[in-house]
Structures are given as structure tokens and as C-alpha cells.
Amino acid sequence: MSAQQYQIPDENTKNYGVLLNKKDDLQVVEIPMPTPAAGEVQVQVKATGICGSDIHLWKYGEIGIFPVTQPQLLGHESAGIVTALGEGVTTLRVGDRVAIEAGIPCSKCAQCMAGRYHLCPVVVFKSTPPYDGLLAKYCTHPARWLHKIPDNVSFEQGALLEPLSVAISAIERSGATFGRSLLITGAGPIGLIVLAVAKATGISPVVITDVQPSRLQYAKEMGADYIYQVDPKKPDYEAAKEIRDLVGGEGTEYTLECTGIESSFRTAIMATRDAGVCCLVGVGKNDQSLPVNNFAMREVDIKGLFRYHHTYPRAIALMASGKLNIDHLITHKYDIMDALKAFNTAADYSTGAIKVQITN
């Protein structure tokens, strides 16, 4: 099937989804073919990336403050083709190639009206319990939260727009801009995409840390100015000092913590310069012990990050410009009917997987 080909379902077309019944119980099952309601469109989902949160939901039955309470589809990093229009949709046509923004806010509350729709108290984010995700052959979605992608952006790249949105959002939330130094703790898919965006936008120097030497080597090839291998046995303040010394002793002006691991967050805080910003991107334990006096008395601001907002247009522009080269982060692709293999690959570090995608 070429990139432009799509299949408009008829009464015989079967739909399949990747269903998490409960913790540790993931199956590809036949699911009903959805019909778009008013304002919605039907999308043939062509590519979906697997996120660490999908793995976490699968293995732990919860993520952050959201427990799995009923069987649900996983996946929220998707792109596809419009196959049917619901009533009243004028902004899209059948055949349009789109990226799916998985979060649907109410658009009416104070947060939404102030433009901070990611903080809408009643946002429906597909794949966060209890809402079904996008890992299906066909899904429906409000037209308003779909973004057309140009022909030179593939579906695989379209699926990368979601983690790219996290990276753009994280850099913006921290305030890091060109000419300023950045520390990224964690060279997983998010950390590496942040690195790519940082290099593409002139942020420099960039330091990146990880426990795995192979990921650090990968980061070095992507243009990281300094790499630092974390030794879990080393006290966090020692690691912080070694990281600070890489950039002249004072630490970085901005830090993005992309692991969610408590010791990494503590190190990240202590490695940030006075008056800097340390932004937590990774999701980890609900309560963590932090060196409060250290960051308070040095006026290092701590900012949490929740998803993204208003990033898709910019992410599409960045992807379409060709300035960003992150296709190589897609290390494995599986057909949706082999989704379990995809999940097993993604969950196993020894495979060297960075971003695993499921295609249709």
C-alpha cells in the first residue's frame, strides 16, 4: 500500500485494536468500526508510536495518578488518513493526511479560555485511563484536534509529532533559547528528541546524561556537546558536581529532566546554575524527596510539565522543513496485527529499541 492509499471501510471491513484488558494482559482484538459523530471524522490510523507510558500502563496498570479501571485501547502517538466525515465537518476532506492530537479539552473552562487547554480539568486524553487510545485500524476523532500534514511528511514522521510536541513544550516551558546551555538527563526517546530540537534551535552547549553508554554514544552522534554516564552508585551531589564541571563549574542555565527517576531529578536540580530553571518532563514516583534548600536558596525554579499545547503547527513546520532529522529514532516497525511483538520489543532494553512504531 502506498502512502497515499487508504481504504474506506464498508460493512465487511473489520476493525482491530490493541486492547489492554488489565495489567499484563494485552491483546489484538476485533473491535467495532466507529462512525464519526457530528464534528468528528473517521481516520484510518497508519502509524502509531509506542510511548513509555503505554508500556507502563501495560506492566503496572497505572501511570502517575491514573489507574487502569476498565479494558481500554493503548496508544496516543498517531497519524493517518481521513476516511469518513461526520456531520458539519468542513475543515477536512476524505483522503486528507492528518496527525492526531490525542487530547480533547472542553474549550470552555477558564484554563481553556486562557489558552492553557492542556490543563483543562475535564480533558479527554486518549489512552490515559479510562479513555481508549488510538491503537486501532480505524478510530474517530474531533476534526478540530486533527492537523493536516504536508505530503513530504510521512505517516511515521506524523506519529513522531506527538513526542516532538513534548520536546517543544519542554524547551518552551523551561525558557531555554539559542545561545543558552541545557542539561538533558535521560537519553531515551524524549531526551534524544529534545536534543535534536535543541541543536536545531541553537541551544548550546547541550549536556546529556544516561546510565547506558550505547544511548550516550547515540546522543554524541546526534550532536550532544557533552555526554555523562550516570553511575547509580555515586551520590547525586557528586554526579551533579561532575556535570557542572563539564560546563565550567556553575552548571547549566536550563535543565530538562527526562527520566522521572528521583535520583536523576535531584542530580538535575543540583547541576542547574543559580537563577536557572529545572523542568521535570519524566513521569516517576508520585512523591519524591528533593533538595529544597539547594534550589530555593539559589533561586532555581522547578517547573513540572504536563503534555503540551499549541505545539502541533510548529512541530509540523519543523518536521516539514527538513531541519530536524529524527527519523532514525524509529528503530523498529511492526504491523498492527503483530502489536504484541512491538510492545515486547519496546519494553526490552536489550533490543536497542528507541522508538517502536506500529503501522497499518
Partner: protein, 359 residues
């Protein structure tokens, strides 16, 4: 101009932990850009008490006798070479921290973080509790005639309030919640109101403090309880926050002036999505925080280190009457009774809020 001849320079000196004496020291000689201030009013801060009782705060430890005090105002007695902004007789508030003015932090305006900062009464720099104190003229702020020196001495703790209100991004109509109704908490409330806050709630363990706060820049008051023995702090904090939210709403800005772990935790829980928590109180160096809330609700956590660019603002606020600090001055002592004044603050007697030493 020659220095005052034959005048005594009585100084309140902390010789070592628990040992304060009055000493007569030479009147300092002025270098380029400095003025000599005849100090008239000095407030006593919790940090002065802490140095007295413990001999140090964190990394700042007393290694030699040091004059105490940093919340002062006075009259210019002598003007050194190169000083253009002041003349003898000018009444001034003293900003106690003199920065280097040359490093990157200074040049970008965050001079409170200057690595070469000389801050009065932080070891080894002598403080202002004396008759004659020399100071960089550009860190002295001229007062209009109708602002008293006693009020001007309060610009120092007021500066903590102004800096906190700015760090918390308090805007008109905002809802602000403050933990701690001591002088710092009250001045944070005053700064919040001056910044246009629509509703200020203040919380404390001590009912008499809340009684006072009822008539000073706050709209509602919450009486806090101590955690019961055995209950983990995070559980207590979640329970208390739920309780508080029965009568209060989530806040745009929460300012913690206690340093207590439970209050810091509650600060996050009481913040709106996208709100700010400012940590003013200094507490345990490692604290457990509700990270899931900080992340999923994007609540910013910002500490403060003293203040910067607040003195000119403070003078204007006192001059215009947008803040009235006079009610906070509850007790006054003469310089020779300094030890009594310190004991008074330590014991917190008679509803003491700000105790000042005047000359």
C-alpha cells in the same frame, strides 16, 4: 567633611553563640562611593536571633565577633569621595546587601545571587546595629519627609514580601494563600494586596497571630493544626488541604513563610493548575514533595534568596500609602537595651511582631 569627632560608636556585637555585648568601636573611614550613616532605627529579624542562639545559619557560620542587624534606616552624617546621589542630612533606608555590580548575575539584574555579595550581619560582614555604619551610597535610598525612619527600617522585610509577590507573578484579582502570619507572612500579604490581589488568605498555628492578621491585609484566616504523631506528613498534608478547601478556593499563588514540610506540601495542593508556589521560609534541606501534582497540574515551585530591585519600590509604596507598615512595629528599645530587645523577640512576648531598636 570630617567625621563626627568624639562621638561614640556603640555596636551590638555577637561575640559567639549566646553572647551579645555592647562595644564601642571606631567610627569607620569612608572609601570612594561610600557614605556614613547615623543609624536611627533597626528591626530585629529571626535570623539575628538564630545567629545569637546557634552561632550560624546553614553554610554561614560565625568565625569571629560580628555586629548584628540588617534592617536599618538613618541619616547621612558624612559623604565620601565620588558620591553624587546623597548629601549630609539626607534621611535614607539602607539596602543591606552590597553586590559586586560586575558579575553576570549582577549585570542581568539578579544581584541577590552575586557570588561576591557582602550582606550586613551575614558572617563575616558586620551589621548595622550601631551608631555609625558605612555603606555604598548606591545602596542607600533617600526618603521623603513624611516617611519615618522606623517605617523605612521595615523596607528590608517588606523587600522579602515584594520579591516574593513578584516571583509568584501576583496580578490584579489573583487569589493568594500565605502560610505563616509572622512579620514576613504579613508583609507578603501587604505586598500581595499592593500588587492587586483580590483575596488573601493567611494561615498559622497561633490564634493571636490570626487575630492581628484579620485587620492587616488579609481577607480570610485559617487556623492550622500540628500533625498528629505517627501520621506521615504527606497524608496529613493531603487531609489538611482537603479540609482547607471546604472554605477556601485554589490559589493563583501560594507563599510559604514557614519552611515546614507539611506547609510546603500543602502549598502545592492548594495551588490552581498553572499556579505558583513561592518558598520564603527556610526549613529542612531535603523535603518530600507531591511531584505528581507539580507535573500534572504544572505548579511552579520557586524559592527566594533575599530580594533584588525592591528598595526603590518600597520607598514609593510607603510614600504613596499603598502599604502601611506602622502597625507591625509593636515594641521599641533603646540601643543600650539591645540584649533585652533580643530576649523579647526570642520569647515572642506580648504579641511582638516587629521589635525595633532606635537611637
Amino acid at each position: 567633611m570630617s567625621p563626627p569627632q568624639g562621638e561614640m560608636n556603640q555596636c551590638v556585637v555577637l561575640r559567639q553563640k549566646n553572647d551579645i555585648v555592647l562595644e564601642n568601636r571606631p567610627i569607620p573611614q569612608l572609601a570612594h562611593g561610600e557614605v556614613l550613616i547615623n543609624v536611627k532605627a533597626t528591626g530585629i529579624c529571626g535570623s539575628d536571633i538564630h545567629y545569637w542562639l546557634h552561632g550560624g545559619i546553614g553554610d554561614f557560620q560565625l568565625k569571629a565577633p560580628m555586629v548584628l542587624g540588617h534592617e536599618s534606616a538613618g541619616i547621612v552624617a558624612e559623604v565620601g569621595p565620588g558620591v553624587k546621589n546623597l548629601k549630609v542630612g539626607d534621611r535614607v533606608a539602607l539596602e543591606p546587601g552590597v553586590a559586586c555590580r560586575m558579575c553576570e548575575q549582577c549585570k542581568t539584574g539578579r544581584y541577590n545571587l552575586c557570588p561576591e555579595m557582602s550582606f550586613a550581619a551575614t558572617p563575616p560582614i558586620d551589621g548595622t546595629l550601631c551608631n555609625y555604619y558605612k555603606h555604598a551610597a548606591d545602596f542607600c535610598f533617600k526618603l521623603p519627609d513624611h516617611v519615618s525612619l522606623e517605617e523605612a527600617a521595615l523596607i528590608e522585610p517588606l523587600s522579602v514580601g515584594i520579591h516574593s509577590a513578584r516571583r509568584a507573578n501576583i496580578k490584579s484579582g489573583d487569589r493568594v494563600f500565605i502560610f505563616g502570619a509572622g512579620p514576613v507572612g504579613l508583609l507578603c500579604a501587604a505586598a500581595a494586596k499592593a500588587a492587586g490581589a483580590g483575596h488573601v488568605t493567611i494561615a498559622d498555628l497561633v490564634p493571636s497571630r490570626l487575630e492581628f492578621a484579620k485587620n492587616y491585609c488579609t481577607d480570610s484566616q485559617i487556623l492550622l493544626q500540628r500533625s498528629q504523631s505517627g501520621e506521615p506528613n504527606m497524608e496529613f498534608s493531603r487531609r489538611m488541604a482537603k479540609e482547607i478547601l471546604k472554605t477556601e478556593e485554589l490559589a493563583d499563588a501560594v507563599i510559604d513563610c514557614t519552611g515546614a514540610e507539611t506547609c510546603v506540601q500543602m502549598s502545592v495542593l492548594l495551588s490552581k493548575n498553572g499556579g505558583s508556589v513561592v518558598l520564603v521560609g527556610m526549613g529542612g534541606s531535603v523535603q518530600s514533595l507531591p511531584i505528581s501534582e507539580i507535573s500534572s497540574r504544572e505548579v511552579d515551585i520557586k524559592g527566594i534568596f533575599r530580594y533584588c530591585n525592591t528598595y526603590a519600590t518600597g520607598v514609593k509604596m510607603l510614600a504613596s500609602g499603598s502599604i502601611d507598615v506602622k502597625p507591625l512595629i509593636t515594641h521599641t528599645y533603646q540601643l543600650q537595651d539591645a540584649v533585652e530587645a533580643f530576649k523579647h523577640v526570642k520569647e515572642g512576648r506580648d504579641g511582638a511582631i516587629k521589635v525595633q531598636i532606635v537611637a
